[in-house]
């Protein structure tokens, strides 16, 4: 288990340009994403508005998951400042976004996280927080997070790669499963995930290895049954997210010699319907330093949105963003495989 980020280990893959070189290797026999789009009559992918405004408030995290596309961890110090958050608030007001999706790292570790949530609430937006669960038990500064979430009617989305410890801990670190179960019980305890409470608790399933997720409905059924029977845990929906070959998951694929086979699997599973529904078409993603991207994956590959010059919150232009052309690459095959994959699960 890598206990440090790629950045800390000075691994060449911590440089986005090296990841792109590998992914877009011209000599590779793997098909390009562009050619798959062309085969279904799409020259380019364009946004159709911005409904979801996703903010990555920093790379700091209490975990160091093996598959993390953010390369997050306790050793990452890049976090969004309150000034940049102010710029986000202005941009959110200008955009037509209905939902603000807060992610990280562990977004709650940003010292201005609670302030930011309260300010977004004043704009009357629905807020999603991607909570890794263990942060709630990390230390006493976080024990009251469930109450804070409830107070602001936040939708909580949390990763749980499997309903037993073996596969969860293999991906997320030793002891993560037990802590996650405790955190889920705390959230259930105040009504999260309980039918009729109006407090939404969704779980994210992402495969702990070089394989694709099974159909979302089947996994949701299995997760609901197992978590209820074993731990009396309830939740609303399960979102399937396919692992994209970015940062630490890319490192894992290469180190285990699964890269080619995994990429081919994604390519073979290319689904035109999923391509049309990819999440970047109604989302924008803001980095900790205020730069804008089509999605969190493009963010980690440093593929900044360009409008003549690179786009930052400082020159936020809602009209342009609503119909911008999306920058794609082979990593996008992760979003179009099978039933498709997005931050909200399958797309078909």
């Amino acid at each position: 288990m890598a206990v440090k980020s790629l950045a800390k280990r000075k691994n060449p893959l911590s440089e986005p340009s090296n990841q792109i070189k590998l992914l877009e290797n011209k000599k590779s026999e793997l098909k390009s994403f562009q050619s798959s789009l062309e085969e279904i009559g799409l020259k380019t992918l364009h946004a159709v508005g911005v409904e979801i405004f996703q903010v990555n408030v920093g790379k700091m995290c209490n975990q160091v998951c093996k598959h993390c596309h953010v390369d997050a961890g306790p050793d990452r110090k890049e976090i969004m400042t309150r000034d940049t958050m102010q710029l986000c608030l202005k941009a959110i007001e200008q955009s037509n976004a209905k939902t603000v999706d807060l992610t990280g790292g562990a977004p709650e570790m940003n010292p201005d996280f609670r302030w930011f949530v309260e300010e977004i609430k004043k704009l009357d937006k629905h807020i999603v927080v991607r909570c890794n669960l263990t942060i709630i038990l990390h230390n006493r500064n976080y024990y009251d997070l469930p109450e804070f979430f409830k107070k602001h009617q936040i939708e909580v989305v949390s990763s749980l790669p499997f309903y037993d410890a073996s596969r969860t801990d293999a991906q997320r670190g030793n002891g993560v499963f037990d802590k996650s179960i405790k955190a889920l019980q705390m959230l259930n305890g105040i009504g999260y995930g309980i039918e009729g409470s109006g407090l939404i608790l969704n779980l994210v399933y992402n495969p702990s290895g070089a394989f694709l997720p099974a159909p979302q409905e089947q996994l949701e059924r299995d997760f609901k049954k197992a978590l209820k029977e074993k731990f009396s845990i309830e939740f609303n929906s399960l979102f399937n997210i396919t692992n994209l070959p970015v940062s630490r998951f890319l490192e894992y694929l290469i180190a285990t010699q699964n890269y080619e086979t995994y990429m081919q699997k994604l390519i073979d599973a290319f689904n035109p319907a999923a391509a049309v529904g990819v999440m970047c078409r109604n989302t924008i993603s803001v980095g900790w330093d205020g730069y804008l991207y089509d999605c969190d994956f493009n963010q980690m590959l440093d593929m900044k949105i360009q409008n003549g010059k690179v786009m930052h919150l400082n020159n936020f232009n809602s009209e342009f963003l609503d119909q911008r052309e999306i920058q794609v690459g082979r990593h996008c095959f992760g979003c179009t495989a099978g039933s498709g994959s997005s931050c909200g699960g399958s797309v078909t």
Binding site: F211, L219, D222
Partner: protein
């Protein structure tokens, strides 16, 4: 000419067996795909049976394919191993049960 049997890359070519006999291949794949759909047995149960059969048939392609499929379906390593033990126990049992024939014969011709 390939210099090894059972190249993992060949699994992807399975769908192309129709190149030499299309009619039967199409019929086979249609039948195969119907069988594996959710029915009185769940798709998960069917895949576990398929894994067990793959071991009895000792088909490396099928073992790869169904192990991946089962992991994707969220089946645990313990469940997969138990399925293989069922296959092994059955294989052993079907051999051992014929020992009755040996015993019968031995008794028949012995004093």
């Amino acid at each position: 000419m390939a210099n090894t049997y059972f190249d993992p890359a060949d699994l992807r070519k399975f769908g192309k067996i129709g190149e030499f006999q299309k009619e039967y291949a199409d019929k086979f794949f249609e039948y195969y795909n119907s069988v594996f759909k959710e029915g009185a047995l769940t798709a998960r149960e069917k895949s576990l049976i398929a894994l067990a059969v793959s071991h009895v048939a000792q088909c490396p392609y099928c073992i790869d394919a169904y192990t991946t499929d089962l992991i994707e379906k969220g089946v645990s390593n313990e469940e997969m191993m138990e399925a293989v033990h069922v296959a092994s126990a059955m294989s052993a049992g079907t051999k051992l049960v014929t020992s009755v024939q040996m015993m019968n014969k031995a008794k028949e011709i012995s004093m």
